[in-house]
Amino acid sequence: MPFDQNSAVERARQDLASRLGVSESDIEVSAVTSKEFPDMSLGAPADDEMSAQMIADGWEIKLGAKGKSYEYRADKYQLRLKGYNGKNHVIAY
């Protein structure tokens, strides 16, 4: 599923709303920043995952809900949730 910045943010909002059981309108977009990530898992490898060690351009998406903040990472190929309940998650690719 190819992403651009807008579609990655929207998909991240949908994912977080679903996880938290809230409406998408309750999800606040705190910041979206263009980033260079250290590898093609965007510095957020899932369990048992290996990734190409090439610097990858993408977006860091900071969302907020219920007083907590959440970090998603995306590039044109994929969307990841970093450190949710202590783990990284591949949301879409």
Partner: protein, 475 residues
């Protein structure tokens, strides 16, 4: 500004960065023809400040992109921008000297850009943060072949950009900070009898600069047979991710690595590989996104071992990938490759961390056939992103701003220990071409013992040096 506009602006900023990189590359061609700039410049040159205009309070992205000339230091840039009440918002590492500047006075961006552009002794170019409605290009285009050829160099038009093979000091590089490919090629340019497996996202085996050097299963070698998969007609290699024969690259990363190892040399197109002649066997296990599972990596290694046992001269596996998760099964597969005489060259990782303290795998597997590779920039410095480790990272090789093959017959510049790794794998193949009977252990020792020592790598890299192909072939 509403929220949608913020996304549009951020997206467009990314486009602008890419366009700036293109402009920067064009400028590199131009700058190579200019005389060297003096290192000492007058930062106090009086230039009138543009008039302030009213802007939206939320319009906080940098207004101007400025590329300073080679030799202008970061501290000089900071002083200069501070003097005009501007702020360096971001350094865009992939283009030397390029910074995004935020004007704190909220002046007209066009005037601010013109203000910087007038400082011709310091600034290569400056322009405002354009709004461009276009698709983001996948990469930075490289030299289109207008550079002057170097003596004894191949006729590949992008060779002038391949600083890792021959560095003449242009673009802020250090002359001689390369693997000494030109002198090595006087001894050998590789051999089609040597097979290097590129364990990666696949390889575009139709790329015009690679097609002549791709491995094709000879009729004398039986089709691959696997207990679960049955018989597979592995004509061009293996795709472990999809359990099929076709290892076509759908990402580009593997094709980039393959070009470093063995793009056809002196063929009048694109680049030259470290080996002008070699056979590249694509083993795909990383998917379109550039990531994949440990299990699939093991499947692909098993394939390479099987082919070796069926008479294919697989001598090297190039592995430009990894993670911090240790897999005993993967370690065992790599050990098995070593027991079959296959060298395993692995990327040290891009987290700027010490692998002795925070291991990265598979590069950290302490096996006699593993070489872990760090990345250097064109100034012989350890790349800012590169991992290191005085015990666990064995050699350093060019890995920043490396030009190589990409999908659909194209070329691009990329950075990472991913790019350093195939330099070492390519060197291994070159040594084997020169000494076909060299053992895997001798090969590994040769690569580590023939480095160019670099003081900056003392205590950070096991061999404390950058690989040197000429010396490796002279032993």
């Amino acid at each position: 500004m509403n929220r949608n506009n913020i996304w549009i602006h951020l997206g467009l900023a990314l486009i602008v960065v890419t366009v700036a990189a293109v402009l920067g590359q064009i400028d590199r061609w131009r700058s190579s023809l200019r005389p060297m700039m003096s290192e000492t410049r007058d930062l106090a040159r009086p230039v009138a400040k543009p008039t302030a205009i009213k802007r939206s309070p939320s319009d906080s992205e940098p207004e101007v992109l400025v590329r300073f000339k080679s030799g202008v230091t970061a501290s000089q840039i900071e002083k200069l921008t501070a003097k005009f009440n501007d702020r360096v918002e971001d350094r865009l590492e992939l283009v030397n000297g390029l910074v995004a500047i935020d004007d704190l006075d909220n002046a007209d961006p066009a005037e601010v850009a013109a203000h910087y552009a007038r400082m011709t002794d310091l600034v290569e170019y400056a322009h405002e943060n354009f709004i461009i409605e276009a698709d983001i290009p996948d990469f930075t285009p490289v030299n289109d072949g207008h550079d002057m050829p170097r003596p004894n160099s191949p006729n590949d038009p992008h060779f002038a950009d391949q600083w890792g093979l021959s560095n003449d000091g242009r673009n802020g590089g250090k002359k001689g900070a390369d693997i000494a490919a030109l002198s090595a090629w006087s001894k050998t340019k590789g051999s089609e009898d040597v097979v290097v497996a590129v364990l990666d996202t696949g390889v575009d085996y139709t790329h015009p600069d690679l097609v002549a050097n791709m491995w094709v299963r000879p009729d004398s070698v039986p089709q691959y047979s696997d207990a679960q998969l049955g018989v597979i007609n592995d004509l061009y290699g293996f795709n472990a991710g999809d359990n099929m024969a076709d290892p076509m690259d759908d990402n580009g990363h593997g094709t980039h690595c393959a070009g470093i190892i063995g793009a056809e040399g002196d063929n009048g197109i694109g680049i030259a590989g470290i080996n002008w002649n070699v056979k590249i066997m694509p083993l795909k296990f990383l998917g379109r996104g550039g990531f994949g599972s440990t299990k699939d990596a093991i499947e692909a290694i098993n394939y390479a071992i099987d082919r070796k046992q069926n008479g294919v001269n697989v001598r090297v596996i190039s592995a430009s990938w990894g993670s911090t998760m240790r897999s005993k099964a993967l370690e065992d597969a790599i050990r098995a490759a070593g027991e079959n005489g296959i060298l395993f060259v692995a990327a040290a990782g891009n987290s700027s961390t010490d692998n002795d303290r925070r291991p990265h795998f598979p590069s950290n597997h302490d096996l006699p056939n593993v070489i872990s590779v760090a990345a250097l920039d064109n100034g012989d410095l350890l790349a800012s992103f590169s991992n290191y480790g005085s015990k666990s990272v064995h050699v350093a090789a060019p890995g920043k701003a490396i030009v190589s093959t990409w999908l659909k017959g194209s070329y691009r510049e990329a950075s990472g220990t991913s790019m350093a790794t195939p330099h070492v794998a390519g060197l291994a193949a070159l040594i084997i071409a020169n000494e076909p009977d060299i053992t895997m252990a001798e090969l590994r020792k040769r690569i580590l013992d023939s480095v160019d020592p670099l003081d900056i790598l003392n205590g950070r890299i096991f061999s404390a040096g950058r690989i040197n192909a000429d010396r490796a072939l002279s032993n």
